[in-house]
């Protein structure tokens, strides 16, 4: 198994696509940090959490990673994670290389696990890379000090919440926690992508289906008329971590988010294994 994982890592790392992704994940957060710095104190208070995090970011460099994570986890990280997961099996199939891998004494379930594990590790690495880059940029430009978060006007209750202070230790711990939550939030996407990847020999098709499923989930999740059905969507609880920085609370939605991700992993992970083990390899 270790040998299989090692070779899959080699295949994933040693390619131009990975370098481009790494460059984007370093470059874009850097650009965002510079933009926050250039924008300075010209802030708007429109009650939006993402906006709110950006509004707070200039207060301390230790808040910048959270702001950048909020900006990038909504789409770019989804695209990257979808690409890594969707390409896991279909990439080899589209090269015609999958059949040669399977003509080795390598059990299919083990191969699929190795591919999903490598894709998952890369997704976590990408998330961590974004946070680290933002942290370096943020601390460089804004320093690493505690921050007093001012109260906000809540449009739903028409009241102003009280402010609070986040110490350096709290900021570091919550940033780490947010990173883990966001990275884990791509578990459903990983399971879906791996499953789609076993269904087709076309890498682009699997990637498109994975990202498409997330976009559909986002759109449906925004329709309140769907009621409780939305709670089962893989994207519904993805932003639940932001309350740690905006309202100084750990939302119960984070627990629900973890449970939803685990359910998707169980269902689509099992489906991927069952399908791939029985599949006729025609590529």
């Amino acid at each position: 198994m270790i040998a299989l994982v090692r070779t899959e890592f080699t295949k994933a790392f040693v390619r131009l696509r990975t370098l481009i992704i790494a460059a984007i994940l370093v470059g874009l957060p850097t650009l965002i940090v510079v933009a926050i710095h250039a924008r300075g104190n010209r802030v708007r208070d429109n009650g939006d959490n993402g906006e709110g995090l950006f509004r707070l970011a200039h207060l301390s460099g230790l808040l910048v990673p959270a702001a950048v994570l909020a900006a990038m986890s909504g789409f770019l990280l989804v695209v990257i994670a979808g690409t890594l997961a969707g390409d896991s099996v279909a990439g080899d199939a589209s090269w015609g290389n999958l059949r040669y891998l399977l003509m080795r004494p390598v059990p299919r379930g083990r191969l699929l696990f190795a591919k999903a594990f490598v894709a998952g590790t890369l997704i976590w690495t990408c998330t961590i890379l974004v946070v680290l880059t933002a942290a370096v940029g943020g601390i460089t430009l804004f320093g690493s000090h505690a921050v007093a978060v001012p109260g906000q006007f809540d449009l739903t209750t028409l009241t102003r919440t009280s402010g609070f202070t986040l110490s350096v230790g709290t900021l570091l711990a919550r940033t780490a926690f947010a990173t883990v939550y966001v990275a884990f939030g791509f578990t459903a996407l990983l399971a879906l992508g791996t499953f789609f990847s076993t269904l087709t020999d076309t890498s682009a098709g699997a990637i498109g289906a994975t990202i498409g499923a997330y976009i559909v989930s986002e759109i449906l999740g925004a329709i309140s008329q769907l009621g409780t059905i939305r709670y089962a969507f893989p994207t519904y609880y993805l932003d639940a971590w932001q309350s740690m920085f905006t309202s100084n609370s750990y939302s119960k939605d984070m627990v629900a988010g973890v449970i939803v991700q685990c359910c998707y992993l169980a269902v689509f992970g099992t489906a991927a294994i069952v399908w791939f083990k029985r599949k006729d390899i025609r590529s």
Binding site: D92, M103, P105
Partner: protein, 313 residues
């Protein structure tokens, strides 16, 4: 009772269906150790599907497929003893040839030092190009690299599906010579090919299939010898024509060029030669016209094709 000769490949009653379409129907054959066995059939005969099932890429609908006496399952250990090239050789395009070989070999946990990579590279003869990215290779280079890959670890059985597809005549000859060298070293080979002359020159045995079914199998010489023609040149063609037309084992005598084309029902060429010489004619040339291609086409033409059936459950 155990077979006297070890069957490296033993396919028994194989059926493979895709929905309502049967690709392979009740197909059985054996390849014994040391044989170079050609799998022949027209397009759509089921050759590639049979080889894919043999290599665990596709599940048989019914029947038993064994390698080295063990029933084939995806990822089974016996694959470590097999080098296979099914359809085109395919690689990770952004890796060098050498990196491709190594990643493929090590995926199963095998040690690189056990791969006998020098021997495999000598076969590929890619020189310094082995360190170039595969996406810069020509089709012929990829095919040679494919041969290097299947030879890693000195497999006991080589399974080759149309190994010379896409190669120029010089490369085809190289591959043919390579197969001959490998069989001299004791490898067992099962190869499918459209090139009948290639099978004739390379293989000791042949399996002919059509519409997913076995048509004939046996030694190449036996398959060729079952029916055939002889080209004869003599000093008096018209006399010889009359003489030969009256022989009981001759079906037809047709003038061709300076000589006669004799279609035989049965018997040997030496019978014709004896009759000609015995009649006082001078025999200038006698040569078989029957080649594997003729035998192959004869077998397919004479076969009554029944409509496909559903495999029995």
């Amino acid at each position: 009772m155990a077979d006297a000769v070890e069957a490296i490949v033993d396919v028994d009653g194989l059926w493979k269906s895709f929905g309502s379409v049967s690709a392979v129907e009740d197909f059985s054959f054996r390849v014994e150790r040391g044989q170079v066995c050609g799998l022949l059939g027209p397009n759509g005969a089921g050759k590639t599907t049979s080889l894919r099932v043999l290599m665990g890429l596709e599940r048989p609908t019914r029947g038993d497929v064994r390698l080295f006496g063990t029933t084939v399952r995806p990822g089974c250990h016996e694959f470590a003893r097999v080098g296979a090239m099914v359809e085109q050789a395919a690689f990770i395009p952004h890796f060098s040839g050498m990196k491709n070989l190594r990643v493929w070999w090590e995926a199963s946990g095998a040690r690189w030092r056990d791969a006998d990579v020098e021997g495999a590279l000598a076969v590929a003869a890619l020189g310094t190009a082995i360190n170039r990215k595969v996406k810069t290779y020509s089709q012929g280079m990829k095919q040679r690299l494919g041969f290097a890959r299947l030879l890693l670890g000195r497999p006991e059985l080589l399974v080759l599906d149309e190994p010379t597809n896409g190669l120029d005549p010089g490369e085809i000859r190289e591959i043919r010579e390579l197969i001959a060298r490998l069989t001299q070293q004791g490898a067992t080979v099962l190869l499918s090919s459209h090139h009948l002359s290639e099978v004739e020159q390379t293989c000791t045995n042949v399996i002919v299939m059509d519409h997913g079914r076995l048509v004939a199998s046996g030694r190449v010489s036996d398959i060729i010898g079952n029916a055939g023609g002889v080209y004869i040149e003599v000093d008096d063609r018209e006399r010889a024509r009359t003489l030969l037309a009256n022989l009981p084992n001759v079906a037809n005598v047709i003038p061709q060029g300076d000589g006669l084309l004799v279609e035989m029902r049965e018997g040997r060429r030496s019978d014709l030669a004896a009759a000609i010489v015995g009649a006082g004619l001078r025999l200038e040339t006698i040569t078989p016209t029957q080649q594997l291609e003729d035998a192959f086409l004869h077998l397919l033409d004479s076969r009554v094709v029944e409509p496909p059936k559903e495999p029995a459950r």
